[in-house]
Point group: C2
Chain length 301, copies 2
DNA sequence: TAAAAATACTCCATAGGTATTTTAT
DNA sequence: ATAAAATACCTATGGAGTATTTTTA
């Protein structure tokens, strides 16, 4: 009879591609995990992984089984969450994922409020790129994610929190008149500095500039020096290397340098939508609504 | 750590409403099942069942947990099926549900062909009402169901096989001319004999006659003597108690009595659609396609 | 008093640990 | 020779059985 333990081990093995590491991740020894994988293969009557020297690769069937095992484990986790949090919103552990262009600006304002209002809550933070967050969400490694909408993944439900307009950050020496709103067309795309590939902020900025991501000759970002944080990008702007699109929520933190000027766009201002995403099957919707409430109180005009 | 065994026991307990019976169904002793349920309740930190004398009732949370446990178990079963049947369609056990107004007419023609063409296949049959079949399908107690479309349940996928027209069966003494097709309006609803409540055939017939199910004064059916098989209904027709709608697939079996005449309806003939339904997540779609092929060979004009 | 679930206990299957061997580079 | 997985063997946890007690109608 197949067990959840076997599926957990298989899932870990698939993610680590290595019996020893997977075993460590499961807090057991390598032989223990090996035995359970063998047991599972015997139960199912198929071979799931190919033991190659140096690496472990899933068979075709194995990959599909891993996928289905992920579903089983996520549903199980949802069951547990449901039972444990029923009626007591925002208690226990909440694993929150946030994208890098939101985390430093939003979290400092909401985490203290969360801790204060929900004393029984323990937030576990994860900051990384959108597609990684999605993966972890679907695997059940995260409960909810704070990111830029829209989300295409149909296994996820979303909630829009607020719109975050983009501003144009230019070096202080820029000769544009103050008090005049700029147009997207005023941007010299050749001087545009953006985060490196994979950041949704980069894609949004390119979309607003009407530039296809591929034929993008965007200054330092294109020359391999892709920045991994808005701080770095703003440093580059301050030093006169170019301009960038700055989300308004980052204004207070990133636009303090007097060598930088920040200009508003003409209406309709380009903006991104900030929202929450979670597995459709998640039983903690009440938690997410409470979280949304906290965010909105601080960020809705 | 929660286990599949606990979920299986809980599921059984919920269906039997009795620790002893549930334990028997799981092929374990009552204390074994009791212990696992207690263990599960301890893990989840909630009470799932209320032990009342004479009966066991689920708590509100328990009901939801049972529902979610069902999902976990069904997904797990799908995983097992996938691995075990991969690449070998129609082998092993296929649990097939069929509604009563199809089973006696379709199965004799397709089961021998199935056994012959797929010698490794073992078909387990279940004949009962549509809503029971759905329940068993969703619980994973059945693999696929043969029934009348449409199906509203959105967790199920369906495949249309063929259309089965209705014919009007009347006593031989009926004075309608031969060779003339009848109209639905010709039916004396007061003399219409139908299967008892719960049979979809009954609802379809009423819909075609434009009669609301509630204010239905349908002969014997309304007088509490609801028939449970078309055979019985046809016996009533033969004895002059009324008329009925007969699906064409039943023609050869049920219309042999010379005291019965069968008349065709004017175009467009009223008809029901016969199809297959299975859990969306089922990995045995290839099996179902092969099954559909067998049926179509014999029932598509 | 009877029926059903919980408890007490005993036993054994098995998951997991340690040590070692096998395998492939 | 090294790294990684499989195997051997041992231990101990805990799942399941039998017998018994508790509970409540």
């Amino acid at each position: 009879m197949i067990t959840l333990k076997q599926l957990r081990y298989l899932s870990a093995l698939s993610h680590h591609g290595h019996f020893g590491k997977a075993a460590k991740a499961c807090a057991v020894t390598q032989p223990a995990l090996s035995m359970q994988i063998q047991e599972l293969e015997a139960e199912l009557g198929v071979s799931l992984v190919e033991r190659r020297p140096g690496e472990v690769v899933l068979t075709e069937i194995g990959a599909e089984v891993v996928q289905r095992a992920g579903q089983v484990l996520a549903t199980t986790r949802d069951l547990e969450d449901f039972a444990r949090h029923r009626g007591r919103p925002l208690t226990g552990l909440l694993r929150l994922g946030v994208i890098p262009s939101i985390a430093p600006y939003l979290l400092p304002k909401i985490l203290p409020a969360l801790q204060q209002r929900y004393a029984d809550l323990c937030v576990e933070l994860r900051e990384t790129l959108t597609h990684v967050l999605f993966d972890e969400l679907n695997r059940g490694a995260l409960d909810v994610v704070l990111l830029a909408l829209p989300v295409e993944d149909h296994d996820l439900a979303t909630l829009r929190l607020f719109d975050d307009p983009f501003l144009l950050a230019v070096p202080a020496g820029d000769n544009r008149p103050d008090n005049v709103r700029v147009s997207v067309k005023d941007i010299d795309v050749g001087r545009l500095i953006l985060l490196e590939e994979g950041h949704c902020l980069r894609d949004q900025a390119l979309a607003f500039c009407g530039t296809a991501p591929l034929d993008m000759p965007s200054g330092l970002a294109a020359s391999g020096l892709g920045a991994t944080s808005l701080s770095t990008v703003m440093q580059m702007v301050a030093n006169g290397y170019g301009v960038t699109l700055l989300p308004r929520i980052a204004l207070g933190v990133e636009a303090r340098d007097e060598r930088v000027r920040v200009l508003r766009f003409r209406d309709p201002e380009p903006a991104r939508s900030i929202g929450l995403a979670w597995r459709r099957t998640s039983p903690r919707k009440a938690d997410f609504a409470a979280l949304a409430q906290i965010v909105r109180e601080r960020f809705c005009a």
